[in-house]
């Protein structure tokens, strides 16, 4: 079995097995079904438009869109017309030869377009997404670039290679005598850039004879190599007099083909799948930007696979500042998605699982990541359902831990501790008498509070109301407030603070207490 068949076979096997593994037993079914599923039909046409025009990608930036468009417009024709020419191009176009026009110039143009696209994507990633990038992000870009570059180098090497010339003459002009061979060599060296070891004559009649022989014997399959403008430029860039070793072209061929097989083999793994999964997901989403359709397990599986790790969600995440403070990458949608996938595959535990739980609960479900995702992933649905699944699995996060006991029980535990302060200055609002000097216990904060308003019995549902918490704090009873469900149910809408006639920073204080409580429990939950 030769290199090509063996390589192709192995790559296909890897692709099929990897794809099967990735699709097999996909864990979307471990997420609870959305309580209200939107059964509206998705718009197939809108999904197609999203795919073809890369509409969602355009929304995240012209540079990314241009990069992707160039890459796809260059790469797809190369894949079908060049890499698969034996089964696509040759049957479709009679007289097809890769060395004829327009194929030769088209190949160069497409390759350059794809390379330009890759260049834009690398530049964009380096400039805007460096902080979120992992090895595989660079690996995908690097591998594609390597395939394209080795293609150009291979073509250039073949042009310059005397060995290839000799092989072709032996195959297609075996009867050539010595003079004819030299004349043809002279023509090819002058017109098509082949580098021969020996000095070749330049007499016009010999060149004319070479031209005639070329027309007769070669031109049927060979357009001038100058039409392969990029590769020819590369070949001409060799120093004058340099001759390629005979092994060079075969080495580049093995490299080029081997790298292409590697890409095929890697396709089911990591983000390498996104060129397939993202369009499939866009089709399923049918042009919708909101959340809620369709939340069935297969759609969720697809959503879990469609991430391109483009990082747009992380750039737009509302709670990204929390990530900077807490240092937990799972606060950002892109990384949280990857860990969620691992957790659903039952391969996530320990500190990483704690990070996922925390990240899930820092999320405010603001919908921004869903709206910005170029792959159209319904992230909102994944967050809401995974939060429920995590809680179901006993991983309700700090928020859930707090609710397992009453404020009084927490006070009992926390009272024996030194409760830290929050903030870079080391001093919290809750620790300063000045914060409460103005408080007259008028209940305005409680009266305007929407959380109190929706509770059917504030004391039973919330333990303490905002003005009661202010009163506890000014009496120095901080431990008694940390576990109060009012603190943990506060939506930080700031109505209390906006309406306080005395300028007490009520919402800031509630938020500070929650931070302090979260930090206390964070350290408690981790070894």
């Amino acid at each position: 079995m030769d290199f090509f068949s063996a390589g192709l076979g192995l790559a296909c096997l890897s692709f099929v097995l990897g794809f099967a593994w990735r699709v097999h037993g996909r864990p979307g079914s471990r997420l609870p079904a959305a309580s209200e599923q939107d059964r509206r039909k998705s718009g197939l046409a809108a999904g197609l438009v999203d795919i073809i025009l890369l509409r969602r990608t355009l929304r995240t930036g012209k540079l990314r869109w241009a990069g992707h468009t160039l890459l796809i417009l260059g790469f797809l024709p190369l894949l079908f017309l060049h890499a698969m020419d034996g089964i696509v191009t040759r049957p479709l176009f009679s007289g097809y030869e890769p060395t004829l026009e327009p194929w030769q110039s088209a190949r160069n143009a497409l390759g350059l377009a794809a390379l330009a696209g890759l260049g834009l994507l690398v530049w964009h990633r380096g400039r805007r997404l460096r902080a979120f990038s992992r090895v595989q992000d660079w690996a995908l870009l690097g591998l594609l670039a390597a395939v394209l570059l080795t293609g150009f180098v291979l073509e250039a090497a073949k042009m310059a290679s005397p060995a290839d010339f000799e092989r072709m003459v032996a195959d297609f002009f075996p009867e050539a005598d010595g003079d004819e061979f030299i004349a043809l060599q002279a023509h090819w060296a002058r017109e098509n850039g082949v580098r021969f070891e020996r000095f070749l004559p330049t007499a016009p009649e010999i060149l004319e004879q070479g031209r005639e022989l070329h027309e007769d014997r070669c031109a049927g399959c060979h357009a001038p190599t100058a039409t392969a403008f990029a590769s020819r430029t590369l070949a001409d860039a060799l120093p004058a007099g340099a001759v390629l070793p005979r092994t060079m072209a075969p080495i580049f061929w093995h490299l080029h083909v081997g790298l292409a097989f590697l890409v095929l083999a890697l396709l089911p793994w990591g983000k390498f799948l996104h060129p397939l999964a993202s369009p499939a997901n866009l089709l399923v989403r049918g042009g919708r930007w909101d959340s809620g359709f369709p939340a069935a397990p297969p759609a969720r599986n697809l959503a879990l696979e469609a991430c391109t790790r483009c990082g747009q969600c992380s750039l737009h995440c509302s709670v990204a500042p929390s990530r900077r403070v807490l240092g937990n990458v799972d606060i950002l949608p892109m990384d949280k998605l990857a860990d969620l996938r691992s957790w659903l595959d039952r391969s996530l535990d320990g500190a990483r699982l704690a990070d996922l739980v925390e990240g899930s609960h820092v999320c405010t479900e603001c919908l921004r990541c869903t709206q910005v995702c170029p792959a159209g992933i319904d992230l909102q649905d994944l967050w809401i359902s995974s939060k429920a699944a995590l809680s179901e699995a006993g991983r309700a996060g700090v928020d859930g831990e707090i609710r397992k006991r009453t404020a009084g029980e927490w006070a009992h535990e926390l009272a024996s501790r030194r409760l830290g302060k929050v903030g870079a200055s080391g001093s919290g609002l809750a620790d300063h008498a000045e914060s409460f000097w103005g408080c007259v216990q008028c209940t305005t904060c409680t009266g305007v509070c929407p959380v109190v308003a929706v509770s059917t019995d504030p004391q039973r549902d919330l333990d303490l109301t905002p003005q009661q918490i202010m009163n506890y704090l000014r009496m120095g009873l901080k431990a008694q407030t940390l576990g109060a469900r009012m603190v943990w149910s506060c939506t930080t809408c700031y109505k209390c603070q906006e309406h306080c006639p005395q300028g007490v920073p009520v919402a800031d204080i509630l938020y500070e207490l929650r931070q302090l409580g979260a930090r206390t429990l964070r350290h408690r939950g981790k070894p």
């Binding site: 209940t443 305005t444 009266g447 305007v448 308003a453 509770s455 059917t456 019995d457 006639p501 300028g503």
Partner: protein
């Protein structure tokens, strides 16, 4: 930066009235102040009911009281405003409230005794239409049912009935407020009354208790923005006259007023900066420059004239430390007792009141506060409302009226100078 004709400092009765009057007179108006103060209003608009304070003399005719007041206390701010101007200002003010969904009523030229949540009566000039049934019921000593709620603090129907021993037809009942439990807060209840189903549930809870009652009184919780529609619906459901009694501050009456101004003033073109206290002022001959709010949300405001309606202590127009009282924005001289020990009398309920409650700004006849040299601090700076000296609005029962009347006067004087 836009230059406004008038900067109104304060968002209580006086500030709201000044913004309203200035905007109605075609001036460009910007207003900044804390939002909390007006939440403590009872909703009653007092004009003048008690004078002299030491004698606790209650007047039925507020304009007669004004004549006596101006004669006895020539420094009182009312001395600078004429009766017809006061009457016109009140009419314009309540007209604005009416347009914004708050109905007011009263008897022209007469104070009315309104029922309070403590069972006492308070003489006032204008009161919310939703409370008027209580006035009629009280005056006629009609058979009336007073309802209060489990969990709502600050109003007890039984206490009202005990205090009003002169009203034998008064019965009381305590019911569970539908849909809520535990401790109740008036604003939440008022919002929930926007739901007609909630009114029907409440009416069903009260109907078996009606008996011979011709009136039914409730704590003031009948809606935030459509109070009279709720009252009429309740009357329809119960087949009785229905009225509200304001609860202890902060009652729903204050937020209703604030909501009416929040809706109405921007519609008149007033630029309002809510919950932004004015923290600094720079004054030149031509211009005022203010900083409102603090930190990253602070705004700079330029205006050619200003009305200082920042209130007294609770409104933060005046600041008191252990030694002295200062004016918060311009550091204007404050008329105050000479020594700290003169601030209060020995008895808290001394009928003469306390000296500190007369402190505030001295002004000229155009209500321009006086500077240290005894001359107006600035030709286009006027003051209105509680920050003015020589008045004890709480004991005289003249708070809202004084605020509205002096705001009107201040705006009129200022507009002539712009």
């Amino acid at each position: 930066m836009k230059t406004y004709d008038v900067m109104v400092i304060g968002s209580g009765f006086a500030g709201m009235a000044a913004s309203l009057f200035a905007a109605k007179r075609g001036l460009s108006v910007v207003q900044a102040g804390g939002t909390g103060g007006i939440d403590f209003s009872t909703g009653f608009i007092d004009l003048l009911a008690v004078h002299p304070v030491a004698e606790q003399r209650v007047w039925e005719d507020p304009f007669a009281a004004l004549v006596a007041l101006r004669r006895d206390l020539p420094l009182h701010p009312y001395a600078h405003v004429a009766d017809d101007e006061i009457a016109a200002a009140l009419e314009e003010f309540t007209g604005f409230l009416e347009e914004n969904g708050l109905c007011y009523t009263g008897r022209p030229g007469r104070n009315t005794l309104a029922l309070t949540s403590a069972g006492t009566v308070k003489p006032t000039y204008l009161l919310p239409c939703s409370a008027w049934g209580g006035v009629e019921a009280l005056e006629a000593k009609a058979p009336t049912l007073l309802v209060d709620f489990h969990g709502l603090k600050g109003i007890s129907a039984r206490q009202i009935a005990e205090v009003r021993a002169d009203w034998p037809g008064l019965r009381t009942a305590r019911v569970r407020f539908p849909g809520m439990g535990g401790e109740l807060y008036p604003e939440h209840m008022a919002w929930s009354m926007a739901d007609q189903a909630r009114r029907i549930e409440l009416a069903e809870a009260v109907r078996p208790l009606l008996g011979d009652a011709r009136f039914v009184g409730f704590p003031a919780i009948f809606g935030m923005t459509d109070t009279m529609a709720v009252v009429r619906h309740m009357e329809e459901l119960l087949g009785r006259r229905v009225f509200e009694i304001p609860t202890l501050p902060p009652s729903i009456a204050g937020p209703r007023l604030r909501a009416a101004f929040d809706r109405g003033l921007p519609a008149l073109g007033v630029r309002t900066y809510t919950q932004k206290l004015v923290s600094a002022a720079e004054v030149s001959g031509e211009m005022f420059h203010f900083t409102a709010g603090s930190g990253s949300t602070a705004v700079r405001i330029a205006a050619r004239g200003a009305v200082l309606a920042s209130g007294r202590f609770f409104g933060k127009g005046l600041k008191a430390d252990r030694h002295a009282v200062r004016e918060a924005v311009f550091d204007l001289p404050v008329r105050q007792p000479e020594k700290r020990e003169d601030w209060h009398r020995a008895e808290f309920f001394d009928p003469r009141g306390h000296e500190i409650n007369q402190s505030g700004l001295e002004t000229d006849a155009a209500l321009r506060p006086l500077g240290a040299d005894g001359r107006p601090f600035h030709p286009r700076l006027h003051a209105a409302g509680a920050i003015l000296a020589h008045q004890d609005w709480m004991r005289m029962k003249c708070g809202a009226g004084l605020a509205i009347a002096t705001a009107c006067k201040a705006v009129r004087e200022l507009s002539q100078n712009l």
